[in-house]
């Protein structure tokens, strides 16, 4: 084979490779466009000045901030006076505050519970451990909201009917079952650390607080983020627990109600504005925790 032949072959190979890569770029671009389209649509609609549910074009003809303002300020249609929050039809700020309260409380409680359970199941060895693991597996297979009516009855007896605190309890009491991801993480911390500490006379309590927890910052962050995001996106429990008690609605339920048959036409663009405001912080949190997410579902097969 002469030198020129090999060069020609190389350039042919290179051009073929180039063509393949261009094709891949095109496919990726098209896919990104498809995937990003609803998000772009959402943002565009939130700035749309024209009324109505849908248009046949994407970019609004009239740009406006009114939709965002209407989330927080509602005026009386007759007098034009600004309504107080209690009289607003859709008190968005109230929903945000409600959700924030529920999310912060259940985040703190659930994170503590999850860390305690997963540490015990991962690093301590005791007689009923296998039984507890199996029990967790079995309880996790019941559909989450199957016993919703029963939980509601229990809350009613405790006098927590339609209270925000009931939501906190619902979101955090079951946290004990969500130990898998954190347990997978604790499993990967070398055992020799515990043993060395034990030789030095540390109790298991001290090992947990002084040695293991400081090493577990990533999993604490992950657990806190997931348990914090949960209440922001849950619709099922809120819708059943709060029913028509508007004052205690969370963002998910409130926004869902904005799209009721009566109000949809008037409030659709406001819904989009409200959704954008919620989506921004949650998206940021999610992007932060994505690598832990991967490590979690593949059972620690990936070192994040």
């Amino acid at each position: 084979m002469t030198n020129t032949d090999s060069k020609a072959m190389q350039s042919g190979y290179a051009s073929k490779k180039k063509a393949v890569n261009t094709l891949v770029y095109i496919i990726l671009t098209v896919m990104v466009l498809i995937w990003i389209f609803p998000i772009v649509y959402l943002v565009m609609q939130s700035f749309r000045g024209e009324p109505g549910i849908s248009t046949s074009y994407l970019i609004p003809k009239q740009w406006t901030f009114d939709n965002y303002i209407r989330l927080f300020v509602e005026t009386d249609p007759k007098t034009g006076a600004v309504l107080p929050m209690d009289e607003m039809r859709f008190p968005y700020l109230r929903w945000i505050l409600n959700t924030l309260l529920v999310a912060v409380l259940s985040c703190v409680i659930s994170t503590l519970i999850i860390l305690m359970v997963s540490y015990a199941l991962s690093r301590l060895r005791f007689k009923s451990r296998k039984m507890l693991l199996n029990m967790g597996l079995i309880l996790g297979m019941f559909p989450g909201f199957m016993s919703m009516a029963a939980v509601y009855a229990i809350m009613e007896i405790f006098g927590l009917k339609q209270q925000l605190i009931a939501l906190v309890i619902v979101y955090s009491a079951g946290a004990g079952l969500g130990y898998q991801v954190a347990k997978g993480f604790f499993d990967t911390i070398p055992r020799s650390l515990d043993e060395a500490a034990k030789i030095d006379g540390a109790t298991r309590n001290q090992i947990f607080w002084v040695i293991i927890l400081p090493l577990s910052k990533p999993i604490i962050v992950y657990t806190a983020l997931t348990t914090f995001i949960g209440p922001w996106t849950d619709y099922i429990f809120v819708s059943y627990f709060m029913k028509d008690n508007k004052d205690n609605w969370t963002v998910a339920l409130g926004l869902w109600n904005m799209l009721g048959n009566q109000t949809m036409a008037d409030w659709f663009t406001v819904f989009c504005a409200g959704a954008v405001l919620i989506a921004i912080p949650i998206t940021i949190l999610f992007v932060i925790m994505q690598r832990f997410y991967v490590a979690g579902v593949t059972g620690g097969a990936v070192k994040g």
């Binding site: 015990a120 019941f142 007896i157 009491a173 998910a252």
Partner: protein, 511 residues
């Protein structure tokens, strides 16, 4: 067959062999599954048998204090100079007795009441709660008439009954622990040792028994707000707690397995609805799982192709769409896909005719599967990307030296590796899709809903039907039946695959 024979086969034969071994493996897996259940039951009875044996022999061998502790809890410990511990046991016993007399016994009596007039002229055996009888004799032997307005609240009675049962089980465990502890301290005294003091014993809860400290609060919460409601719901499945029997005001009563019969065959409308929804749920779960898996993997391969630049940019673009809360994107899609929504507007503006995305059965079913891809593919992409980066590069290098082309590298290295690692993930996604509430409920609301469906529509899954039965029509008994069925499907599915996959055995690998 030896490994050597396998390697010498052609690709076609290998695939055929894999298929054959997969399907011949199923009966074995099922057999193993039932064997495992049998073993569990055997173990359980062994456990109970041993418990009784130990209970008896401790009584015979123990000293007088130990024997006393079989009646008065904590007596043995106090007798053996463990005053603090003994007092704790005694307090527990007193509390339990007080609880049972003032509260618990009541519900054991009322849980199955006979001859109850639930409505004027309707007498029922097995009612949950009692309607005060018209005439009663009081403690002085004088007949008096009860207030007929107050009906017992069946809901409370069933709930408190379950609660009493749980408290009794917990107490029983404590009682056994008491006899064990009394015997152990007695033995120590017999051997000339001093039994451990109360303070020292408390200290063990920070060390040898630290798991008890960590797990008590979570388990109590689980009992109160997960196990108690689940048991309550399971009991509901055997009653007639539906729209017409809502306490307070109406009672409900035990009806045996009628609800199950209704769902399976005896009620034509409910059983037809159940059959159709079950089939669709399974079809949906298969399609939703595998479309996401395949497209997610293709996407990950494209992004992770060596020559492709801006990898993290592409990845982030897709991750962002997954991060936006589902109720937002899905509600938006519902409006966009509406008969008069944005997509149809655009199609009409371009000169086409509108498509019934969500209002025609087949169309709606295809739409939910496609939209589910929009929702789920970024997740699969994220996971498979992580795995792809983990495959050792030298595997590919040696394959290239052996002259393997890109396609061969994929089928021989990439795919087997990913498939092996993601098998547990596939199972969880399958189960997750059976329970996928969001996509269906927000997108179609279960619709289109023809009249022959009972409280459901053609895209409803078992779980969304469950939700509607609970929230919309208050058919709590039917909802409970559906919940139990979903549990059985998920449990059998995952246990069989769990037994088949090796992942379960490697739990201790890291420690």
């Amino acid at each position: 067959m030896d490994y050597l024979d396998y390697v010498q086969m052609t690709t076609g034969q290998k695939i055929a062999y894999k298929f054959k071994s997969f399907f011949t493996g199923i009966p074995v897996a099922i057999k193993k599954f039932f064997l495992a259940i049998g073993m569990l039951i055997k173990k359980f009875f062994n456990f109970i048998g041993n418990g009784f044996k130990g209970y008896g022999s401790r009584f015979v061998k123990g000293d007088i204090g130990t024997k006393l502790s079989y009646i008065v809890m904590g007596a043995g410990n106090m007798f053996h100079k463990q005053i603090g511990k003994g007092l704790c046991f005694l307090a527990a016993q007193c509390a339990y007795i007080y609880f049972m007399i003032s509260f618990g016994m009541n519900y054991f009596q009322k849980i199955y009441s006979t001859d109850v007039e639930v409505e004027p002229g309707v007498i029922v055996n097995g009612a949950i709660g009692k309607v005060p009888v018209h005439k009663t004799t009081n403690m002085f032997g004088i007949e008096e008439i009860d207030n007929l307005d107050t009906l017992d609240d069946s809901n409370r009675i069933l709930l408190f009954f379950v609660m009493t049962v749980i408290v009794s089980v917990v107490f029983f465990v404590l009682y056994i622990a008491n006899t064990k502890s009394a015997y152990a301290s007695g033995e120590e005294i017999k051997n000339g040792k001093k039994p451990i003091g109360f303070i020292d014993e408390l200290k063990t809860y920070l060390d040898e028994r630290f798991h008890v400290t960590l797990l008590t609060v979570p388990i109590v919460l689980l009992f109160l707000f997960t196990i108690l409601p689940i048991l309550f719901t399971i009991f509901m499945a055997f009653t007639n707690y539906d729209e017409k029997h809502q306490p307070p005001g109406n009672m409900y009563w035990w009806t045996g397995v009628t609800n199950f019969q209704d769902v399976f065959y005896s009620d034509p409308m409910k059983s037809a609805t159940f059959g159709k929804i079950l089939v669709w749920t399974l079809v949906w779960a298969v399609f939703a799982t595998f479309t996401n898996y395949i497209f997610g993997m293709i996407l990950a391969l494209l992004i992770n192709k060596k020559e492709i630049k801006f990898k993290s940019f592409w990845r982030t673009m897709f991750v962002v769409t997954a991060a936006v809360p589902q109720f937002v994107t899905l509600l938006l899609m519902r409006l966009m896909l509406d008969d008069k929504g944005a997509f149809n507007n655009m199609i009409i503006a371009l000169g086409g005719s509108s498509i019934p995305f969500l209002t025609d059965c087949t169309c709606a079913r295809i739409t939910v599967i496609i939209v589910n891809m929009w929702v789920g593919v970024p997740y699969t992409m994220l996971i498979t990307s992580g795995l792809l980066m983990n495959i050792p590069e030298d595997l590919y290098e040696s394959a290239r030296i052996d002259g393997a082309n890109a396609f061969q590298q994929f089928t021989k290295i990439t795919f087997p590796y990913i498939f092996f690692v993601t098998t547990p993930y596939l199972i969880t996604t399958f189960v997750g899709n059976i329970n996928n509430f969001n996509v269906i409920y927000f997108l179609t609301g279960g619709g289109p809903s023809p009249a022959e469906y009972y409280q459901a529509g053609q895209t409803d899954l078992l779980v969304t039907w469950l939700y509607k039965l609970t929230v919309v029509s208050s058919d709590f008994n039917l909802a409970a039946v559906i919940g139990i069925i979903v549990f059985i499907i998920c449990a059998t599915g995952s246990l069989i695959t769990f037994n088949m996959s090796k992942a379960a055995k490697n739990e201790e690998e890291f420690s």
